[in-house]
Amino acid sequence: MKQFADLHLQPNLDDRELLEKIIRKAADLGYSLVGVSLPHRVQQDAIDFLQKICRENGVDLVKRIDLAPRSSRDLLRSLRLFRRKFELVAVSCFSKSIARQAAKDHRVDLLVFSSGDSRGRFFDVAEARLACQGIAAFEVDMALLLKRGGFSRVRLLSCLRREIAIAGRFGVSVVICSGAVDVFGLRGPHDFVSLAALFGMDDVAALNAVSVAPLAIVERNRGKLDSDYVARGVRVIRRGRN
């Protein structure tokens, strides 16, 4: 059976009732892995509580951090500080220089463009070229699409259609996430596949974006965070005794 992942839930971590609701709903909708956006200085008991709920509902929890750097230098500093503390690093690209730096940095997993306007989105050919040489995937946040209406949604759909075509041309991975803050933002994986058709993703590519692509990112990162990991392609297979 195909496994599905939603790498971006952003509930209020202080509201434990909401946390339980959203994780339970994600499990009901068929997700086996969820990524929860955590603050930089997250309390250990909040993570423990999240892990407990996820375990009870048979869902795998991925610890995600959303970086919103003000400059490329700020991005590099944040990556140095947080990369090894979180399983998933997403970077909100508010300027072209940040977007370019994020695309070529191997420590960045997801490129996020949260503007609904084409002038605020920097996923163009040059960005895709850098992203395909690196490992960063392009994130499509469905919350952006769902909360918009009218001309604003038309503009966003048009941007997404162009960006998905560019990503496809350069072989950049695309990940579809809900970006849900509560249960009303959640949709089933097949619902996202249908919605993805609105911006020109075919069924196979859209299914990959909610299953294969996110799962591969998480597996790769967990491998890197493992104590046996040394460098790309090098792992400790046995330790000697002194």
Binding site: F184, R187, L198
Partner: protein
């Protein structure tokens, strides 16, 4: 003449919400119209088949070619009758009997009440 192929969809609002079938249908039509316009809406062949008030399940039918359009419209609904809401697709089938069997199976499995 070529037979028209159809798809039957069972729709349900979020577990702890109750709406009438008419409200669900209005929300769905409005979203189809918003996303695909009059021309697109005319191609969906969307119509209400049955409303099960006890279970809160609405069965609709559409053209099989327009299934993706209707599913996208269902997923895009964020409000019903002025209240925040979501509609889930509980099952899809090519025949009404097939859909009923699917729902029965889900009910016995406990994934749909």
């Amino acid at each position: 003449m070529k037979r028209l192929r159809r798809r039957y969809l069972a729709l349900k609002a979020e577990d702890d919400q109750f709406f009438y079938g008419r409200d669900l249908m209005d929300a769905l039509w409005s979203m189809v119209y918003q996303l695909f316009g009059e021309f697109g809406a005319s191609q969906t062949g969307l119509s209400k088949v049955k409303w099960d008030e006890e279970k809160g399940v609405l069965i609709v039918r559409c053209s099989h070619k327009a299934l993706d359009m209707v599913r996208a419209a269902v997923a895009a609904v964020t409000e019903i009758d002025g209240k925040r809401a979501i509609i889930h697709v509980v099952g899809v089938s090519g025949t009404l009997n097939g859909l009923r069997e699917k729902l029965l199976k889900q009910q016995t499995r406990g994934s749909y009440k």
